[in-house]
């Protein structure tokens, strides 16, 4: 017998692994991607592919240039690229996802120390950067199937015009970003992640409920239809299940997560109904990302057994 291995307990570990989790997220995102391809054609696939490829390439090059351990294979860059690609309009020129991936991977993630050290969601940071830099390209949407330029349901609502039916919103048969239009596809992907225990469910649920309720409260609609319209339109569901559930940039405690999610819903509704933009998910989640460290700092576990004990 060779020498025995000595290490500290525990001597067994679960089969969970970061790379497996990333793989599960990629699998879940295939559903919204499929819906995007179905509604917006092959261009949607190419946009997402360029986004994923460039994100992984930037991660790879960064590690080469800085002589760091190669992390391009840990799938986290692929997830970022996939998320970014899915929240782009289907008709953007192909240099858009490349610029977005650069900002996401290099500026938002690697400059802060790489995986686990970024303070905002890289994909959303990339999207926010694109939105601020090329607002026209980033807000030009097309109708499904025919490719004719059309406004999103939220933009129509803002303009006071007749908007999409709930059924169209649920199926995804409306104008919007590649992966964001089909509530059905997003929910299937989300269900997969919940079953695989990759994401806890309470954050997304609180966020969705909070956004819907505050939207009504601010006068963005009325009744159950108004509520459903708000939660099914724009990037709310996509953001709730795939962005707000990012481990790194949201609170680590359940309590913190619920507070962050409620706050996120409030900000989303505020921007949508009272703000200048028709949609507020991106900026709402980015703001919550910034608040999350504070929530983790001030929500300290309680001391065990402090009550009713003699000294």
């Amino acid at each position: 017998m060779e020498k025995l291995v000595i290490s500290s307990s525990p001597h067994i570990q679960s089969s969970q692994h970061i790379i497996k989790i990333m793989r599960d997220v990629l699998i879940a995102l295939l559903f919204p991607l499929a819906a995007g391809i179905y509604y917006f054609g092959i261009n949607a696939l190419i946009t997402v592919a360029v986004s994923v490829f460039s994100a992984v390439l930037f991660e790879f090059l960064w590690n080469i240039i800085n002589k760091k351990p190669q992390t391009a294979g840990d799938l986290s860059a692929a997830v970022t690229g996939m998320l970014l690609g899915l929240c782009l309009p289907p008709t953007v020129p192909f240099w858009i996802p490349v610029c977005g991936s650069f900002f996401a991977i290099i500026i938002a993630k690697q400059l802060y120390g790489g995986l686990g050290h970024n303070f905002i969601n890289p994909a959303l940071a990339g999207r926010g950067f694109l939105l601020a830099s090329w607002p026209l390209i980033m807000t030009t949407f097309v109708a499904p199937f025919d490719g004719v330029t059309s406004a999103t349901p939220l933009a129509l609502l803002k303009a006071g015009e007749q908007s999409a039916t709930l059924e169209a919103l649920f199926m995804g048969n409306v104008g919007g970003c590649i992966g964001e239009t089909s509530a059905l596809a997003i929910l299937i992907g989300a269900l997969y992640l919940v079953i695989k225990r990759v994401i806890p469910i309470e954050g997304p649920l609180v966020y969705i409920a909070s956004a819907g309720l505050f939207a009504l409260l601010f006068g963005g609609g009325s009744g159950i239809d108004g509520f459903l319209f708000h939660i099914l339109s724009g990037g709310l569901l996509f953001g709730a299940f795939f962005m707000l559930t990012d481990y790194v940039t949201t609170p680590s405690t359940r309590r913190g997560m619920i507070i962050a999610a409620a706050l996120c819903g409030f900000i989303t509704a505020l921007i949508r109904v009272k703000g200048g933009y028709p949609e507020g998910v991106t900026y709402a989640i980015l703001i919550v990302n910034v608040v999350s460290p504070l929530l983790d700092k001030y929500i300290v576990p309680r001391r065990y057994g402090r009550k009713g004990v003699s000294k």
Partner: protein, 443 residues
């Protein structure tokens, strides 16, 4: 729904390897090694000399300190050496080596105590001490100390821990099945010492056969309640058990007695009844020998002082590519460096793992997924405790209640980044304690 605590994890139990294997009694080996420290507290001094002939059950080491437990010879034979010897703790420890003459002659002083009802509680506690009884779940706290709480601490609840939540281990399970009367008698004796009307035996719901055996043995006795708990790690942790059964929380740095409870183990309970019935001190115990590296896993009754090597041989020997040997369960047990180390009073199991089960991963960055917080049975934030331990940030360690950690390892089990928060926390706790004592010296 079955009762349980919040948090916790569900590791694979791996108990099927041995749960149906009846306890096999192993004869004592030609040579036994009896460490002079097998308990929490003061090391014993030898009371025999090299070359002296000793009998089975004879006292060979004791200490004048209150918190200590005497040790006895598990064979009859001759003391061949008293020296530093390999010990499961990883540190060489003074031990008495005895060559077994195979005669199995018992010491003359050993005689049954008879009916415990005729003894006073002081006499029973003295018997516990004389027999060298310690908590046999692994913590090895001297039993007589536990049963002599200071007068201002009134014990009102006795809990017997039959949860056996560690994966692989099935020795308690087998003992409850095979010796339910011993368990019940042990509880009755303990109740008498504590002058309590009722005690609880807690069993996880993956051992309902054992729970039923205990129920049958207890009959209609109203003084014993068998509580079936959900199977979850660390259900058998003292603090979790007390919380589930009484709703009380034992703060860090305090004992169960501070919240009026006393927790004892199944083995200790059986040892209690056997000491009363036969007067033989603690010189044998039941252990589980299991894991992928063992040819014939099983449960064995072994003489204290038998080397790990001999125990594994009795279990069909080790497979060739054994990479790790653990004393205790895989969650909180200790990795062993030497197969010459002996079975001691606190050895609940020996697990040998093959190379494929010895997981050595590269640490990935913490992504703050919070799985460790959700799995923590003490509701702590292991990720931050580990971070601050690493950064030597004592103020934050205290703010996040580092001393509340029970070191169960649930955080390290669940971590998808394959980090080892509990180890950072252990180090952090030790450094914090050192820092505090340094501060006191200055004052």
């Amino acid at each position: 729904m079955k009762r349980s605590f919040s948090g916790g994890i569900h590791p694979p139990t791996s108990k099927d390897l041995t749960k149906d294997k009846p306890i096999k009694i192993l004869g004592a080996p030609p040579k036994v090694v009896i460490p002079l420290k097998q308990h929490i507290g003061a090391v014993c001094d030898p009371v025999v000399q090299i070359g002296e002939r000793v009998k089975k059950g004879q006292l060979i080491g004791e200490s004048a300190a209150f918190v200590s437990a005497p040790v006895h010879s598990s064979v009859s034979g001759t003391v061949s050496d008293i020296c530093l010897y390999d010990h499961p703790s990883g540190v060489k420890t003074p031990a008495i080596i005895i060559e077994n003459d195979g005669l199995d002659e018992y010491d003359e002083s050993i005689k049954p105590y008879g009916d415990y009802n005729k003894l006073t509680k002081e006499e029973i506690v003295a018997a516990m001490k004389k027999a060298g009884m310690v908590g046999m779940g692994g913590a090895t706290f001297p039993t007589h100390v536990k049963f002599s709480p200071p007068p201002d601490k009134k014990i009102d609840t006795l809990i017997i821990n039959g949860a056996e939540c560690e994966p692989y281990l099935t020795s308690d399970h087998r003992e409850m099945l095979e010796k339910p009367r011993g368990v019940i008698d042990g509880v009755r004796i303990m109740l008498k010492v504590l002058e309590l009307p009722k005690g609880y035996i807690a069993v996880e719901d993956n051992k309902t056969d054992a729970a039923n055996a205990l129920k049958n043995a207890a009959g209609k006795d109203p003084s014993i309640e068998i509580v079936v708990l959900k199977t979850k790690y660390p259900q058998g942790s003292e603090k979790q058990l007390i919380k589930v059964i009484t709703g009380r929380e034992v703060p860090s740095g305090k004992l169960p007695a501070d919240v009026g409870t006393l927790v004892s183990n199944i083995d200790t309970c059986i040892a209690m009844s056997e000491v009363m019935a036969r007067g033989v001190p603690l010189i044998r115990r039941v252990i589980t020998v299991s894991g992928s590296g063992v040819n014939n896993p099983g449960n064995f009754s072994v003489a204290i002082g038998t080397s790990f090597r001999e125990v594994f041989e009795a279990a069909g020997g080790l497979k060739e590519d054994v990479k790790k040997v653990i004393m205790g369960g895989p969650m909180m047990g200790q990795a062993q460096y030497s197969l010459d180390a002996p079975v001691i009073k606190g050895t609940s199991g020996l697990i040998a793992l093959k190379e494929r089960d010895v997981q050595l991963y590269n640490e990935m960055p913490c992504v703050r997924c919070g799985k460790c917080s959700r799995g923590c049975p003490m509701k702590l934030s292991p990720l931050y405790l580990a971070l601050y331990s690493r950064n030597l940030n004592f103020e934050q360690m205290e703010r996040y209640h580092i001393t509340d950690c029970i070191e169960c390892g649930s955080c390290s089990f669940v971590c998808p980044s394959k980090r080892n928060p509990v180890q950072y926390i252990r180090v952090g706790k030790a450094l914090l304690a050192a820092e505090k004592s340094k501060g006191k010296e200055k004052k």
